[in-house]
């Protein structure tokens, strides 16, 4: 089962190239160039992982992260930044980002982060499913 990834960055060339490379590694990658579009796409499709650039015009990475987490808490978010500080990292983690990577990112570590995110999401989803099954069993106990 391939990871369904949404890549968000205002540099189209960057997203396109990265997406192509990730696709060659078997991931299902969509791209967009603005935070607003990303939110729309998250609503429409079921992504496993969103890779967000921290600094974007309009809705920036942290804002997008907050909104995505509010809409779909199970979606895992990896933040990319050209400008990493300990403080920003802590802030991002508090908002529920799974990983905080510095640009230019190493594809291997990004792939690792995505795998980890996918796994985390699977656990969450399984847990949710389990709970739902338990609930069904509880309510409709034969």
């Amino acid at each position: 089962m391939s990871e369904k990834v949404l890549l968000v960055d205002d540099e189209e060339e960057f997203t396109e190239t990265l997406a192509e490379r990730m696709r060659t590694r078997g991931m299902d990658v969509s791209t967009t160039n603005s935070g607003a579009n990303a939110l729309q796409m998250v609503d429409d499709e079921n992504f496993d992982v969103v890779v967000l650039d921290l600094k974007m015009p309009g809705i920036d990475g942290l804002e997008a992260l907050k909104r995505i987490k509010r809409r779909r808490p199970d979606i895992q978010v990896v933040l990319l930044t050209g400008h990493a500080t300990v403080e920003k990292g802590v802030e991002a983690m508090k908002q529920g980002a799974l990983e905080f990577l510095e640009k230019p990112v190493d594809l291997a570590s990004l792939t690792d982060a995505i795998h980890k995110a996918k796994a985390t999401k699977m656990v969450l989803v399984e847990k949710e499913t389990e709970e739902r099954i338990k609930e069904i069993l509880h309510h409709k106990g034969w």
Binding site: E11, F14, P104
Partner: protein, 587 residues
């Protein structure tokens, strides 16, 4: 003093950078704006002139005024003494002349021609006055026809004597002193008595000069004074203490004729200054003189002057000493303040330079980062494409090129990442930060490395370490940089100590000590400069400590370093408890 001119701009910049790390270069001395030596000289001179000048002038004026007043006092006093003495001398002579006048008026011509009567008169005279020795009566032909006295002078003819001529003119004659027959100094007083029927008699008497001598000798005269009588030829008529005995010639000039008492200054033959007062005694050939030693008279005044001048000299030496002392003290204070000022200027310049470099670097890095990310991904894509294509997969050269691009991008991004830490947010407020907690958090980042390299990390936080108000993110960054630096310095199995505690009422100090390689003095001087690294090929770009420096400065603190080559390094970070003055953010 100027920077050497070079056609190579970079060499010039390099020269300046090196110059600033050696603060005792002569180029720095230009920056002391004040010529201290000159200032010291001017101030001392001016203060000495304004304090000593008036003092000296006042003393000089006082000297002259009191000298003049002392002299005039002496002259006045001498004049008074001369007047009084003259009156006494004149009186005693007039008294005797009056007595003779009385005798010639009281006795008839017949009685005066009676030698027994003359003898009676002499006895009466001697009973009433001292000094009368004999008495004679001379007729108009000059023959002494009656004489009473100790000598046999009866019948002597005086007609050819000068005094006899004189007495015919002036009625009363007083002679100069002369030794006479008895070798005793005496003088002659003669009084003319006109007879009713024409012709005249002359009453003549000898008077001993002991009369005058006693009068003058008993006079108490200040200034080793000398009172005596001379005649108009300068022959002493009474003996003097210093100017010769009776009938000797006076060693001073005969003063000019004057009706009143006069006082003048002169020098005696030995050059000793004298004050001379004199008065012509009327109707006699006598001049009364009083001679005083000026030096002796001025002695009380001189003694006072000597004391005053001594006092002046002492005051001047004290003033000069105090002025020099105070001036030196003040100038050294100014020198110190000037040095402080230059140091502060230096510090500001350095901080500004660092900040500008930081802003520049961060700006450049930010702009470069995005294209760098694209290059990296494009190169990665090329690599991917090659790997998946049969045609190029085995092409070592192409793969090598791509790898080289990728590794170069990695190197670039390592630099931009560090540069970017210069660009920080401006809106973070200071928060309460517990040092112990923050140090533990930071060490969490390094935990794995410490374990892997078996480095002992010891943390010692004093119990009284206060919670400080500062920017937590920046503090974390600072600690991370310094600890990172320590990790880079120590060998595997080394030891790093982190201590924190209160330093003074409003500061805390964090000390990070390692037992690593340490550094030389030259390295230590440049350690906070950007792009200065001792890590060589081991991945450092030389920005960590430069960033740390500007971060600490921004938090209102200071960072210093002690290091011994081969012994280890110790960083001390001092931070204010109450947060930095500018709220922890400038940019």
């Amino acid at each position: 003093m100027k920077q050497p001119f070079t056609s190579d701009g970079r060499a010039g910049v390099r020269g300046r950078l090196e110059g600033r790390s050696q603060s005792d270069l002569p180029v720095e001395s230009r920056r002391y704006s004040l010529n201290l030596r000159r200032m010291w000289q001017l101030t001392a001179l001016l203060m000495i002139i304004v304090s000593v000048g008036p003092l000296t002038v006042m003393t000089a004026i006082d000297y002259r005024v009191t000298e003049a007043s002392a002299e005039s006092e002496i002259l006045l006093h001498t004049s008074r003494v001369v007047s009084n003495t003259k009156m006494a001398v004149e009186f005693s002579l007039v008294e005797r002349m009056a007595a003779l006048d009385f005798i010639v008026e009281d006795n008839s011509s017949a009685e005066l021609h009676d030698c027994a009567r003359v003898g009676e008169i002499l006895e009466n005279l001697q009973a009433s006055f001292t000094g009368f020795v004999d008495l004679g009566v001379i007729d108009s032909s000059g023959r002494q026809f009656c004489y009473v006295g100790p000598y046999d002078l009866a019948g002597v003819n005086y007609s050819d004597q000068a005094w006899f001529e004189d007495v015919q003119q002036v009625a009363t004659h007083v002679s100069d002193v002369f030794p006479g027959f008895r070798r005793v100094p005496h003088m002659v007083i003669a009084v003319r008595h006109d007879l009713p029927g024409g012709g005249f008699d002359v009453l003549r008497t000898s008077v001993e000069t002991s009369l005058l001598q006693n009068l003058l000798s008993n006079l108490e005269i200040s200034g080793e004074g000398d009172a005596f009588v001379i005649n108009r030829e300068g022959i002493l008529q009474t003996s003097s203490r210093r100017h010769g005995g009776v009938l000797e010639s006076l060693d001073l000039e005969v003063p000019e004729v004057a009706a009143a008492t006069r006082v003048y200054e002169t020098l005696d033959p030995d050059g000793v200054p004298l004050i001379v007062g004199y008065s012509y005694i009327p109707n006699t050939p006598f001049i009364l003189m009083i001679v005083k030693q000026k030096t002796a008279l001025m002695e009380p005044w001189s003694a006072t002057r000597r004391q005053l001048i001594g006092l002046l000299a002492a005051s001047i030496s004290i003033i000069v000493l105090v002025v020099l002392g105070v001036t030196s003290y003040l100038v050294s204070k100014i020198h110190w303040a000037d040095k402080q000022r230059v140091a502060a200027l230096h510090q500001t310049e350095y901080t500004n330079k660092m900040a500008s470099l930081g802003r520049l670097g961060a700006g450049v890095a930010h702009e470069i980062n995005n294209p760098l990310a694209i290059i990296k991904e494009k190169a990665g894509l090329i690599k991917d494409l090659f790997e998946f294509s049969d045609r190029y997969a085995g092409d070592e050269k192409l793969m090598g090129i791509v790898e080289s691009i990728l590794s170069s991008v990695d190197r670039c991004s390592a630099i931009t990442r560090r540069l970017l830490t210069f660009a920080r947010d401006t809106d973070t407020e200071p928060v309460a930060v517990d040092l112990s907690e923050t140090i533990t958090e930071v060490l969490g980042f390094m935990g794995k490395e410490a374990e892997y390299r078996s480095i002992a990390v010891v943390v010692e936080i004093d119990d009284d370490t206060p919670v400080i108000s500062t920017n937590k993110g920046r503090l974390q960054q600072i600690l991370l940089n310094v600890v990172n630096n320590a990790f880079a310095a120590v060998e595997n199995g080394g030891r790093i100590e982190i201590a924190a505690g209160r330093e003074g009422p409003d500061r805390v100090m964090i000390r990070v000590t390692d037992d690593g390689c340490g550094m030389s003095e030259a390295q230590r001087a440049r350690i906070f400069e950007p792009f200065f690294t001792t890590k060589g090929g081991r991945g450092g770009v030389g920005l960590g400590l430069s960033i740390t420096y500007s971060l600490v400065t921004e938090l209102g603190g200071t960072v210093s370093v002690e290091s011994e080559l081969g012994e280890g390094t110790s960083f001390q970070i001092r931070l204010p408890v109450a947060g930095s003055r500018n709220g922890g953010a400038v940019r």
